[in-house]
């Protein structure tokens, strides 16, 4: 018998001896585990940082409501997308991943409409502080998502890392929007939303490094 084939047979025998009863992982439980921890974390952070004083007033503005809603949908779309990407065959439902770019496009359109509708732009003096705040808001969600997805078996580790970071930073941006009293679209774009591109690139590197199996 070919020596190579014989080695493979022995290998199969060795693997078979290691088999134990185990459960299949599913998307919804992973997503809910992530979300539940994140919600608690964000509530605590918002308690520490405080909500913006004009929040109830802002919720009467349609564009603000649209922005918050679409950010929330982005969080869900990215987190679910990341979870799907953690399966080798993406659950054979790649079409679900379309919701991630669709949510981004919807968000860009909302921002554009907000920009057109803004009358006077009063940019706050701070900038980098917002970036640091978003990083803080996003830190635990990002780490927790990577921990959950490391147990999976992704065949698209860099993409998964990017989408996972986008999920976490979307949540961070959403939280800061509820906390920081600023409505300058230019400021939001420069210090809240564009840096998410950098985080996505960082996520790609982290995915390649930490999501191996």
């Amino acid at each position: 018998m070919d020596n190579n084939l014989h080695n493979t047979e022995q290998f199969i025998e060795a693997l078979s001896k290691e088999i134990k009863p185990s459960k299949t992982t599913k998307v919804l439980p992973i997503f809910l585990r992530w979300l539940s921890v994140c919600v608690v974390y964000i509530v605590v952070m918002l308690y520490i940082f405080g909500l913006r004083s004009d929040l109830s007033l802002k919720f009467s503005e349609p564009l603000f409501v649209a922005e918050i809603t679409i950010l929330a949908l982005m969080v869900v779309a990215m987190a679910v997308g990341a979870t799907i990407l953690s399966f080798p065959d993406m659950l054979q439902k790649k079409w679900i991943l379309l919701f991630t770019p669709i949510s981004v496009v919807a968000f860009i359109i909302t921002l554009f409409l907000a920009y057109l509708g803004s009358t006077s732009e009063v940019s706050p003096l701070h900038g980098i502080e917002c970036l640091l705040c978003i990083s803080m808001f996003s830190l635990l969600p990002a780490v927790w998502l990577f921990i959950l997805l490391k147990k999976q078996a992704s065949t698209h580790q860099q993409l998964l890392g990017s989408v996972a970071m986008l999920a976490a930073t979307s949540l961070g941006a959403l939280s800061l929007r509820l906390s920081e009293k600023t409505d300058s679209v230019t400021h939001l774009l420069l210090w809240h939303y564009l840096p998410m591109i950098g985080f996505a690139l960082l996520g790609a590197w982290l995915g390649k490094k930490f999501l191996k199996w």
């Binding site: 493979t8 199969i12 009863p21 185990s22 459960k23």
Partner: protein
């Protein structure tokens, strides 16, 4: 066996394996290896490499089995893992060969820079004489060069075959090139 039937059989075997049935798991892995060999053979020539990649994929199936739901067809899941591991292998293989080719190129460039004026059609060395010079090298150097250049193995593979580590193989090859370069340059 038709594709759908094969998928159903593998899905059933995986369901039993997830419940802890080692015989079903063994059958599943054997069937997976049987499915994978033609797929891998289209991309690799060396039999040892094919079996190495097949074993790597089987190990990945073992690690990732919790991500398979037997309500989905088995083949797409299997081929997703197979493609992933094959790309890993090819990337590593080409990186090893590229690194080796760069080292070899540095040696050849070193010789070429010193002999730019020479007419390449008037070389004192032809293929047979180079082969003779290789065979006249000492120790394991002839075997190393033969395995690397005539059989196309990487330094790591040569090391495994002859019981040396990869660095030692590269050092021995490097020394052999120096000796050959001296002879070709007439020193």
């Amino acid at each position: 066996m038709k594709a759908d039937t094969k998928n159903d059989v593998c899905a059933d075997l995986m369901r039993l394996a997830m419940a802890g049935d080692s015989r079903a798991y063994s059958k599943l892995l054997a069937e997976s290896a049987r499915i994978l060999r033609p797929y891998i053979s289209k991309r690799l020539n060396n039999k040892q490499d094919i079996e190495d990649v097949v074993q790597e994929i089987l190990l990945s199936i073992h690690k990732a089995r919790h991500t398979y739901d037997s309500n989905r067809p088995y083949s797409p899941w299997l081929y997703a893992i197979a493609h992933f591991r094959l790309q890993d292998f090819l990337r590593k293989h080409y990186n090893d060969n590229l690194r080796f080719a760069e080292e070899l190129n540095e040696e050849k460039l070193g010789g070429a820079e010193n002999n730019l004026a020479d007419n390449v059609t008037e070389s004192q060395f032809d293929y047979e004489s180079v082969v003779n010079e290789i065979n006249n090298l000492s120790g394991k150097q002839p075997m190393i060069l033969h395995l690397m250049h005539f059989e196309g193995h990487t330094a790591k593979e040569v090391g495994k075959k002859i019981g040396m580590n990869e660095s030692a193989v590269k050092v021995a090859a490097h020394r052999a090139y120096k000796i050959l370069k001296k002879k070709i340059n007439g020193q």
